[in-house]
Amino acid sequence: MARLVVLGGGVSGHTAATFAAKWLGSAHEVVVVTPNSKWNWIPSNIWVGVGQMTAEDVTFDLAPVYAKAGINYKQAKALSINPEGKESSDKPFVTIEYTEAGREGENEEVEYDYLINATGPKLNFGATPGLGEGSQLGEHTVSVCTADHAAHASDELDKCIEKMKAGERQKFLIGTGHGMCTCQGAAFEYIFNIEHELKKAGVRDMADIKWISNESFLGDFGVGGLHMKAMGFAVSSKIFAESLFTERNVDWIIGAHVSKVESGKIEYELLDGSTGEENFNFSMLIPPFAGVGIKAFGKDGSDITDTMFAPNGFLKVDANYGAGAYENWKASDWPKTYQNPTYGNVFACGIAFAPPHPISKPMKSPNGTMIGPTPPRTGMPSGIMGKTVAHSICDRILKGDNAPLHEASMAEMGAACVASAGKGVFSGTAAAMTIYPVVPDFEKYPGTGRDTDYTFGEIGLAGHWIKHILHHLFMYKAKLNPGWTMIPE
């Protein structure tokens, strides 16, 4: 009997664990270690953040779902990996610390035959002074990264609406809170949902709304931009985004690294080296991501974290980390099997794997500050990676150690993204975007490195409905309701 341990129960880890449990059956054991008691459909947090959904609508308890699937669920966080075991035993193990009510702080060593690291990121609020402390959100800004953060954001938004109704002007500042953030799409979606809600509340004329992000042009979305199809015309996402902002009277700051957050004020540095300040009454700034900080130890107890993990704390996989400068980057640098090069029974997927390099062109201000989107690894690609890794491991367990590994490179993977403004059935509009491949392949597709037939966006109500459908579909799938395997990632 083999044991597969999955660290993390997000999109990627949950997909991997549930498929592995289904494929392996009761002959083998699947263990999920995740510090959260609930599963969260993160894209819908945007709607929680404007009070259109509750935190309960976008989450569910993991315990009953895992009980149904026959998965051994441990509500705990992983502290370290010992891939070579310890002096008294060759069996590799992870050390975990329980977060479950009543067992807090209790440590346990969980042995494994195969390990999937799908911990997702640490929300690195601490990277920007004043934005927060470590992974804890600070007091000056709000976030929509977790369901609880989003519910808090909604409360703060209500307070601002009350103030505006009382005649007090409010300034909204939405965007990214650091030069090295990803997930611009989420902030983009949030700013338009806020605008929509303020209009609905009849206080839009009392609000100044401003966008601040680390993209080098509006509409980059962290993927270098794409063309949008609207009513038979192709228009660039830059022009599309600019006209959307202008139409709704939303101002923007672009190419910005937020360097400091204080009460009601931020300081920022731009790509041209200039600096500035911006005041706010309400601000949602996305934090940068970092690895969750798992340590690795050798058989003799020596620290081998640097061998297993990249400097940013993400797990090393079969990627080419020595690609060098931007002009040498290739699609083939990106991992295919997500297997750790040193320890063949360790895999990483979702945000937890260390990418070989960014996707967008790296940009620096004259002062040396890196300002540019880091590669998005969320949603659809995360799910696909999770399923692929689960497939590989199940094959190795069932067919033997020489079974070939399955591949899913982000350079051969598409991604879809829906950004909606408003939640009504007839009143919202949304931009639905598809990107293929996620990682540009400059050899296959000269120019932007993307297939322009499959990389485009569409604007309209239809995209808005898709977002609704996705919400219900993925909540249904994650709960492992009948037919869940039929729903794609």
Binding site: S216, V235, K238, S274, K361, G447, T448
Partner: protein, 266 residues
């Protein structure tokens, strides 16, 4: 080498914002071609798209006749102050439009060694740079026009000419004076018709007949003159033709009605 300039209706490339990753011979030749084309056509600048390349390159010819090469340019900062000017561009030869842009901008770009630089621009230079960078992002100034100006510019595109296009449609025309005379004449005819109930004179029918010929003639004059006059305001032709035909039909119907009544009653 001097290249052909891409003009409307060739659509902007969907491979836009293709950043230059390596400056090789291809890129160096491309920059030279852009310069040659600028010189040959006496232009103030060109984006690579305008000579058919997808790369994110803009070359500007400065006042001292030297060239400024901008590789992978981006507009980073913009002022709150806006400026509206009449712009022309080689993509729409012979046409111009009123475009509102940022008065001052900050741009980052790279040189041939892919070293990053920034520059601040204002006035004409800022306008020129914004227009050229639009091309590298798959757009022309048409997406920057106000809704009214866009409508006006679409007409210019349809006729392929800037000339004889008035800024707006006049609300009063000379042809309306003819219409006024026609209406007065028809009021006279109604009065003649009513008078016939009180008078037995045959003369009244003759007057009615002559007036009706006059009104018919005026309608014909109106129909042709109105079209001649309409042609002077090309920006509002389509709605005018319908208007003229409609007005003439209504006027002739009224005339027919009066004459039919007169024939049986007088």
């Amino acid at each position: 080498m001097v290249k052909d300039i891409v003009t409307y209706p060739t659509p902007p490339s969907v491979n836009y914002s293709t950043d230059v990753r390596v400056v090789n011979e291809e890129i160096e030749n491309l920059i030279q071609d852009i310069k040659d084309t600028i010189d040959a056509n006496n232009l103030d600048g060109l984006a690579a798209f305008q000579i058919g390349s997808m790369y994110n390159i803009v070359v500007i010819k400065k006042e001292d006749a030297s060239f400024l090469e901008l590789i992978n340019p981006r507009v980073i900062g913009a002022s709150a102050e806006k400026i509206t000017t009449i712009e022309k561009t080689a993509y729409f030869p012979g046409l111009s439009a009123k475009v509102t842009r940022d008065a001052t901008i900050s741009i980052i770009y790279e040189d041939r060694n892919l070293e990053q630089h920034s520059l601040k621009a204002e006035g004409d230079e800022a306008i020129l740079l914004q227009r050229k960078i639009d091309y590298t992002f798959g757009s022309s100034f048409i997406n920057k026009l106000s809704p009214d100006e866009k409508k006006r510019f679409s007409t210019k595109l349809e006729f392929g000419s800037d000339i004889a296009i008035s800024e707006s449609c006049p609300t009063t025309f000379n042809r309306d004076k003819i219409l006024k005379v026609i209406n007065i004449a028809m009021v006279v005819m109604v009065i003649l018709l009513i008078s016939s109930f009180f008078s037995e004179s045959d003369k009244l029918w003759d007057y009615q007949l002559y007036t009706s010929f006059g009104v018919l003639g005026l309608n014909i004059i109106y129909f042709f003159y109105a079209q001649y006059e309409g042609a002077k305001y090309t920006s509002c032709t389509s709605c005018q033709i319908g208007n003229i035909i409609g007005t003439t039909i209504i006027s002739l119907s009224k005339l027919t009605l009066i004459m039919a009544a007169s024939y049986f009653l007088m």
